[in-house]
Structures are given as structure tokens and as C-alpha cells.
């Protein structure tokens, strides 16, 4: 019965009790500085504490691997032994002597003629098959390849043929750090490697000797794999390097969605640094900025466009650093280009196209072009935009995906609320903040702020520099319908529309400008206990 009473008492309880409350609470706070808009790494502080946007963009890095590519190559040497049957004494030579045991291999390098190369990487893969019924002592040399002055040489014992199955030897040899003379035996060739082979009957073979027939042979395959020079010298040819057409992201203004930004000045330094011992000519058909949101494209009009730019070769020092780069630069500004319009387009992409012509005058160096690993021909842009500007309805926006499913029951208990935004603005900009709710059909279903909700700009001194901060208090009523729309929102778009406060005067942005926000709420909320 006791249990029955308790169960009955419990069963009377249908659901949690509820009651209305009026709750006052801060919700969030944040501080907005220019560093929240533009990464610190892109901002430079001037002597007067005003800020300059600094942006660098590399257009190309034309380096050793673009100039020279050595294909993997295999060399096969087959030595058929003398006709008839002969008996060789232990240690007797079975390959011919010089020059018949010397092989030269010339690499096809497509217009590139190398005299010398220093290998960063390289493997020699050797496969030897011995059909003689005795071990063979084999000496393999690359006289033109040396490490610390010592030519490459290996001596191996190759097993003899047993039961008709040739003896074999397989091994890899590291050629890293070898210097290779590619000028051939007479030093008048290019791209040529010399190898030399000597084979002898095993000195420990039976004293009666080894019978060798005409069917016996010695087959030597050597493959040169992954030869990558760290330094090369010769003539590098005239193969044109095409860069682009290409577009790359320009994220500086990616959050701006509309409005206009007038800049007092913009400077763009176009530079070339040539660390290769090759004369070069560059032609830049096009550089442009593209604003994907507006579809507007601005092409650069400047002396560097479609005009050949010749740059001298680097100077080889034979010390450290091994090369002195040859430099070229041209400063583009409001006076000699439309670079200001290019940036005021608020681009999110930069497009460019460039052609590089090495050795435009041919082999004028007499095979003395050179290139070191890590040294190339680089071209790029250095952009400097002093933040001295006029903003007109310049809008920033960010879209946040939201999912209030988990808290929708809590939000449904919120009948109405009144939000208060406290803004303390240190920028000489007025700001109109808005928050749009986007429904499942990707349509804006509602907005939070009214049209009169605007944050006042900080006051200016005679030098048009903001002094202190301007306080603004915005009261934002949020009736029940807006709360319902918020519950059903899939995304929220936060926008801020800025106007400089002294138009048409340009205003500098200083590094100490900040805007502080705090949002508080008064909620009429039904508490439910479960």
C-alpha cells in the first residue's frame, strides 16, 4: 500500500512545472579592430601610427628544375667472349682493354648542353649476368664522375653460371654529391658520360683454368635514375617558360560585399630577381584584378604590360653565396598606372600571365650558363596601400551556419526580449550593424535591427584623427515573431556598413582605433522544469 500511495503520488505528476521570469543578462562582448579585418601580417605601422596594407604576391619562381631535366637512362654493355673454346687462367682478363672497354653515353636534353653537373640526387642501378662457369671479378668505373676528386669505381665478384642459369649481381649505388664532367673523353662534347669496364676470371679459380666457349657472355646493364643536379653549367637553351594565364585568391578584401572604397594612393612594386647565370627576357601580357561579387575586372595599364623586360644574368662568385642576383624593379603608382583603380575594385582575385625567354641572344656565354639549386628567377608584386581612405557604404559581411534544433525548445520558451547593444566606437566611421536570418529556402526571412540602428563615429580633431570613443546605445526589441524566425533560421548573415565621417576627406586609419561591442538582453522567459 505504501508503494501504491507513492506511485499514485508520482503518477499525478504529468510534466514539469513552468513559470514566467524576467531575466537580465549580458550575452556577448567583442572588440573590433582593423586587425580583425586584415591579418596582422599584412599591416605595417607607419611612423605616425597610421597603418599601411602590405601585400606581396610571387608570380613565378623559375628555377633549376624548370631549366634542366635529366631523364632516366639505361646503358647496356654486352661482352661476347672469343670464338671457339678457350681456357683462361685464374685472374686472366676476359674483356678487351682500352679503348674497347670504354663506353660513352650522351643524354638527349632538348636544346640544353651541359658541360658539368653536380648531383643533388642520383642512383646507379647495376644488373650483371655472367654466363661463364666461373666467378668473374668485375671493375666498373665512371672516370668522369668524381667525389672529392676520386673517380667513381666499384669492384664486385659476380657468381658464375650454374646448370645453364647465369650468375647474377644486382645493386644500387648512390651518386649523390658526385660531380660529373659531361664533356666526354676529349672534353669537347656535351651531355656525355664515360664508363669503363674490366672483367677478370676469379683469381681463386682452379689452377687448371676456366673453359670459356663462344656461348658465354657477360651482360652489364646500368641505369641512371633520378639524376637531379644541384648545380649545372653549360648552355641552357631557349625554351620559353609560360606562366599562366592564372588567377590566385586575393583575400585582403574578401569580406567586403558592397560599397566603395576610395584610396588616396597605392603603390605597387613589380620586381624580378635573377639568380641564374642566364640572360632572360620577360613579357607580361596581362595583370588584372577581379571582383567576383560585382563581376568587375580591371586590367593593369602600366609600362610593364606587353613591353619586353630584359634582365641580365647573375654573376657566379665561386664562393658563398655562389651567385649575385641581378635585379629589376619598377614602381607603379597613381601617376604611371591605374593601380589605384585596380585595388579600389576590391578584388578577390588577381590574374596574370607571363612569358620568360632564357638566353634570348643564344649561347653567348660559350657554355658558361650556370644555375645553383635554390637560386632561380623570381618575379612578384609588392603592394603598399596606406589606409587613408574614403568609405561609402562599405559593407562587410559574414555568414554563419546555425542550428538551433538542440535549443529550440528553450528558445520557444522565450516570449519576447529586448536587446541592448552598447557600442564604444574609436573609428572615424559610422557603422550600421544588421543581422539577417536566412531560412531553409535560402531566403532572408527577417532581420534583427531597424533602419535607424547606427553606431556613431568617433569625433575628429583638426588633423582628421579620431579622438576618444563615441558611445552609442541601441535598443533592439525582439518580439515573438522574430524569435520564431530565429529558431527556424539555417544561417545568419552579419553585416556592417561603414561610412567615413568626414567625406570627401580621406581619413587615415591608425593602429589604436577600436570599436567595443557588448550585447545585453532582457528576456521574458518561461522556465520549465522536467
Amino acid at each position: 500500500m505504501a508503494c501504491t500511495v507513492l506511485l499514485l503520488a508520482g503518477s499525478c505528476r504529468k510534466s514539469g512545472a513552468s513559470w514566467d521570469t524576467d531575466i537580465s543578462s549580458p550575452i556577448f562582448k567583442t572588440t573590433f579592430g582593423i586587425d580583425k579585418l586584415i591579418a596582422d601580417s599584412l599591416l605595417s605601422k607607419n611612423t605616425d601610427s597610421s597603418l599601411t596594407l602590405v601585400y606581396s604576391k610571387s608570380l613565378t619562381n623559375y628555377a633549376l628544375d624548370s631549366l634542366i631535366h635529366i631523364p632516366d637512362t639505361s646503358v647496356s654493355n654486352v661482352y661476347h667472349l672469343p670464338g671457339g673454346s678457350l681456357t683462361f687462367a685464374p685472374g686472366a682478363a676476359i674483356t678487351p682493354g682500352p679503348p674497347n672497354n670504354i663506353t660513352t653515353t650522351t643524354y638527349p636534353l632538348h636544346g640544353v648542353g651541359l658541360k658539368t653537373a653536380f648531383l643533388r640526387t642520383g642512383i646507379m642501378h647495376v644488373t650483371i649476368k655472367n654466363k661463364v662457369h666461373s666467378k668473374i671479378k668485375l671493375n666498373y668505373q665512371i672516370p668522369s664522375a668524381s667525389l672529392n676528386g676520386i673517380p667513381f669505381t666499384i669492384t664486385v665478384m659476380v657468381p658464375g653460371s650454374v646448370g645453364g642459369v647465369p650468375g647474377s649481381y644486382v645493386a644500387d649505388y648512390n651518386l649523390q654529391a658526385y660531380t660529373i664532367d659531361l664533356s666526354g673523353p676529349a672534353h669537347n662534347s656535351i651531355n656525355t658520360v664515360v664508363t669503363e669496364i674490366n672483367a677478370n676470371i676469379d683469381p681463386n679459380a682452379p689452377p687448371s683454368g676456366v673453359l670459356v666457349t663462344s656461348a658465354d657472355s657477360l651482360i652489364i646493364n646500368s641505369s641512371f635514375i633520378n639524376l637531379v643536379p644541384g648545380y649545372a653549367k653549360g648552355y641552357f637553351g631557349q625554351t620559353v617558360q609560360h606562366v599562366g594565364p592564372s588567377e590566385s585568391a586575393f583575400g585582403v578584401f574578401s569580406k567586403f560585399t558592397s560599397g566603395s572604397l576610395l584610396l588616396q594612393s597605392v603603390q605597387l612594386n613589380f620586381y624580378i630577381e635573377n639568380g641564374i647565370g642566364v640572360d632572360a627576357r620577360l613579357i607580361i601580357p596581362d595583370i588584372y584584378s577581379k571582383n567576383s561579387r560585382t563581376g568587375n575586372t580591371v586590367h593593369l595599364t602600366a609600362p610593364i604590360i606587353n613591353s619586353p623586360i630584359n634582365i641580365n644574368r647573375a654573376i657566379e662568385t665561386f664562393s658563398n653565396p655562389p651567385a649575385i642576383t641581378s635585379n629589376y624593379s619598377m614602381m607603379l603608382n597613381n601617376g604611371n598606372s591605374n593601380i589605384k583603380a585596380l585595388i579600389e575594385n576590391l578584388p578577390d582575385k588577381i590574374g596574370y600571365q607571363m612569358n620568360i625567354y632564357p638566353d634570348p641572344n643564344g649561347n653567348v656565354s660559350g657554355y658558361n650558363d650556370f644555375v645553383y639549386y635554390g637560386y632561380g628567377l623570381q618575379a612578384g608584386l609588392d603592394l603598399q596601400v596606406p589606409l587613408n581612405l574614403v568609405a561609402t557604404n562599405l559593407a562587410l559581411a559574414d555568414t554563419v551556419s546555425v542550428n538551433f534544433d538542440k535549443v529550440s525548445s528553450n528558445l520557444q520558451q522565450l516570449h519576447q526580449c529586448s536587446l541592448t547593444l552598447y557600442a564604444s566606437n574609436g573609428f572615424p566611421l559610422t557603422a550600421a550593424i544588421q543581422m539577417y536570418m536566412v531560412d531553409q529556402n535560402n531566403r532572408i526571412s527577417d532581420s534583427l535591427m531597424g533602419p535607424a540602428h547606427q553606431i556613431a563615429a568617433a569625433p575628429l580633431d583638426v588633423n582628421l584623427r579620431a579622438i576618444g570613443k563615441q558611445e552609442t546605445v541601441l535598443t533592439i526589441p525582439v518580439p515573438g515573431q522574430k524569435i520564431t524566425n530565429l529558431i527556424h533560421a539555417q544561417k545568419i548573415i552579419i553585416t556592417a556598413r561603414f561610412n567615413t565621417s568626414a567625406n570627401p576627406n580621406y581619413l587615415k586609419i591608425y593602429d589604436n582605433y577600436q570599436m567595443d561591442f557588448q550585447l545585453t538582453g532582457d528576456f521574458n522567459y518561461t522556465i520549465k522544469v522536467h
Binding site: 505504501a2 505528476r13 521570469t21 524576467d22 562582448k29 552579419i494 550585447l519
Partner: protein, 413 residues
């Protein structure tokens, strides 16, 4: 906070008067019985501020309207109390002379009971913030200091001796659930503009193993003593009667080493969730600027000994054939309880029918108007039923305190 409120009211809504937890201590209606067995259950809830209507709405899951809140607020004092018990069980009792055929008028008994107890002490501000919100406290500090909560659920295995002039029992307790919170200091300041909150807390909280919370869970063991004595006074005078002394639940429960202990003395300042970059709102850019007291980390885990809310009861029972006027006083230790003083009128209508009416003040509530009946139903069945405050059911919106109990027993001659 919601969990606290649920604890606060759900358990209080199933409370019982302690004098009904040992129904066999009272003199049996049929004194010729040699054996008796019975079941009993009941609850009582009491508060000096919170009305029965408010508690009923809370427990029944109804909407608590403004008039209910205002009725409570009109009764709130600086410090308020709320508490009670819910109990049920079975017992068996046998006269010792039924073995020996000598009338020594003594019995032994055993009982098994399910017990729940809760008591709270809370400030006016705590109630108002919980049920009205903090908006009315802009520029002010809501003071919750002195808040106390004791909630216990346990099972009792009892065996004892009952004589004409004294009786006692020993009990073993299985501790199921225990929550204790004491806030020496707890203050919530709401700034005039609502742009920040300061919560100053110095509290200690103990919770029995939260991962073992099923009914009748074993999270602790304890022992206790109940006893009574009847002292005849003024014998052979017109004031002849008995002084009745009773002590119940004089014991403790040792909660096991998986008991969590929390405690902190901290000022929590909250001025909003810090967003690093409002234009890149993501979890990684959001930093909470205040900790939640409800998410406080467990400071330690260790065994803990908690006393039971022992009660002491004294009354004078005059001799009388038709009616008796019984004055008494009851007190509970460490339970936010004030002495309950009462006068009970026992009217013996017939040999096996007694009506009791009681007027009292104190305990968890204020004035109480109890009414009960004790009768023999036939075939050896006895019934005791009543309420600790019948006005609490008649006028729930304006009264504090309620309770009901019932006990059915079978006697064997």
C-alpha cells in the same frame, strides 16, 4: 538551477510527519491482540512561506501564475524554511506473553521502511530570483546567503522491544541518495544596465555517488536508535496521566567513498561570452568569460558521515475514558525545523473509534490543523488515517503545510 529547483520541490512534495513513522509505538486500539501486522504510508510538506497551492502546481506540472507567486512573496521572510518527509513501510509485532502465557504486556517488532527527507532554508531573494528573474534586481544584490539543502533517501530495517513504560529499537539504514548544499555566502549582483553579473559564492556541496542513482541504490550504510518512555504522573489525582517521551532516528549514515564533495569561494564575473572576431564567429573564437557554478569540478571524493534528522517528542497524555486533551512539543535536529507545539483532542466515541483533532504551530509550517481517525474495521483489521493540516487541502492558496497518512493493520488474538 533547474535541477536544484526540481530537487527543492519534488522531494518536498512527498513529505511526511515524523510521528507517523512508528505507528506501532502508539497504544493499539485492540489491547487484546497478541500479534499485529500492518502497512503504512504518508507524506507531509511544510513551509512558513510557500503555499500549498504553489507546491501543488509545481508538483502537478502546472503553470505557476503571478498571483501564486505574489501570495508566496507576501509571506516571505528574510530566511525561510521548507521541508518534510515521505515514508512508507510494513511491520510485524508480537506480544512476548503469547509465548510464555504470562501477561507481561510487552512486544517485539520488526519493520522495513522507505524513507525520504528534505529540508531547505532559503532567502527571500533566492525565491524571487528563481521565480521572478533577476531583472528586478538591477543595481542591487540578491542575497542567497545561508541557503541550506538536505535531501536524503534511505531504507530502514528496524527491530525493537515495546513495553508498557518504555520501548526501543535498533535500525540499520541503507543510504540511497544524499545531497547537501550549504552556501555560507551567495550573492548575485546585477548591474544597473544589465551589462554584467557578479556572483559571489562560498559554498560546500556533497552529493552521494551520482552514477548510482537508481531506486534503493546502496551508496551508504548507517545505524540508529528509536526509543520511547511513558512516565505516569499525578497518579490517583484528577490530573493523572502519562508523560510520553520519544526519540526517533537518532543515528547516522556513512556515505561511501564515491561521495563527491564540491566547494568554492569565488567571485564569478560575467559580462558576456567573449567573441574574438565577430566576423568569424565559430566555436574556436568564442570564449566563455565565466564559469558556471553548476559545472564546478568535483573537489574531492571521499566517504562522508551525515546525521539523520533526529526528532524529539514530548507530550502529556491525561487519563480519560471519553476524551483526552494532549499537549506536546516536537523538535528535529539539524533539519531547518522550529519546535512544533500542539494540542490534540482525542475523542473516544466508542470503544473502537477514536477521533483526533490537533491544532499546532511550528515545524516547517505555521499553524496546522490536524484531523485523524482510528477504528477497528472488523475481522481484526484496524485503520488509522488522517491529515496533518486539513485546511491545507481546503484552502491551498492561502495555507502552508499539508500531509496525509494511512495505516492498516491486522491483529490476531
Amino acid at each position: 538551477m533547474k535541477r536544484l529547483l526540481v530537487c527543492f520541490f519534488s522531494l518536498v512534495a512527498m513529505q511526511v510527519k515524523s510521528q507517523e513513522i512508528n505507528p506501532y509505538f502508539s497504544a493499539p486500539a485492540d489491547s487484546s491482540a497478541k500479534r499485529e501486522t500492518g502497512i503504512f504510508a504518508g507524506y507531509s510538506a511544510g513551509s512558513n512561506a510557500i503555499t500549498n497551492g504553489f507546491i501543488n502546481s509545481f508538483y502537478l506540472g502546472q503553470f505557476i501564475n503571478n498571483s501564486q507567486k505574489q501570495e508566496v512573496e507576501s509571506r516571505l521572510h528574510a530566511s525561510n524554511r521548507l521541508g518534510g518527509d515521505a515514508d512508507g513501510g510494513i511491520y510485524y509485532m508480537q506480544k512476548i506473553d503469547s509465548y510464555h502465557h504470562h501477561k507481561i504486556n510487552a512486544s517485539w517488532f520488526v519493520a522495513i521502511k522507505s524513507r525520504q527527507h528534505a529540508d531547505f532554508s532559503f532567502s527571500k531573494d533566492l525565491f524571487k530570483v528563481c521565480f521572478e528573474g533577476n531583472d528586478g534586481y538591477r543595481g542591487q544584490t540578491a542575497d542567497f546567503s545561508g541557503f541550506q539543502m538536505n535531501v536524503m533517501q534511505y531504507q530502514q530495517f528496524q527491530a525493537g522491544f515495546m513495553g508498557k513504560y518504555f520501548g526501543f529499537s535498533l535500525s540499520v539504514y541503507n543510504g540511497s541518495q544524499y545531497q547537501m548544499l550549504q552556501a555560507k555566502t551567495a550573492q548575485l549582483y546585477t548591474s544597473p544596465m544589465g551589462d554584467y553579473l557578479d556572483f559571489n559564492a562560498n559554498y560546500a556541496m556533497t552529493v552521494s555517488n551520482p552514477s548510482n542513482s537508481q531506486p534503493f541504490a546502496n551508496n551508504g550504510l548507517g545505524t540508529g536508535l528509536d526509543l520511547y518512555a511513558r512516565v505516569p504522573i499525578c497518579v490517583e489525582t484528577k490530573h493523572a496521566g502519562q508523560l510520553y517521551f520519544e526519540v526517533s532516528d537518532l543515528g547516522f549514515i556513512r556515505w561511501n567513498k564515491k561521495t563527491d564533495h564540491y566547494g568554492n569561494d569565488t567571485l564569478y564575473h560575467f559580462d558576456g561570452i567573449a567573441i574574438n572576431n565577430a566576423f568569424q564567429v565559430a566555436d574556436s573564437s568564442i570564449h566563455y568569460s565565466a564559469k558556471s557554478i553548476l559545472n564546478a569540478k568535483v573537489n574531492s571524493q571521499s566517504a562522508y558521515t551525515a546525521p539523520l534528522p533526529a526528532s524529539f517528542h514530548v507530550c502529556y497524555i491525561p487519563d480519560g475514558e471519553t476524551y483526552q486533551i494532549v499537549p506536546g512539543i516536537r523538535y528535529r535536529v539539524d533539519a531547518n525545523y522550529i519546535p512544533y507545539e500542539y494540542v490534540q483532542v482525542r475523542y473516544h466515541i466508542r470503544k473502537y473509534l477514536t477521533l483526533n483533532a490537533e491544532l499546532g504551530y511550528g515545524g516547517y509550517a505555521g499553524f496546522q490543523t490536524g484531523l485523524s481517525v482510528q477504528t477497528i474495521l472488523g475481522r481484526g483489521f484496524q485503520l488509522k488515517a488522517g491529515t496533518s493540516n486539513f485546511l491545507g487541502y481546503a484552502f491551498p492558496a492561502f495555507t502552508c503545510g499539508q500531509g496525509a497518512f494511512v495505516s492498516i493493520s491486522k491483529v490476531f488474538r
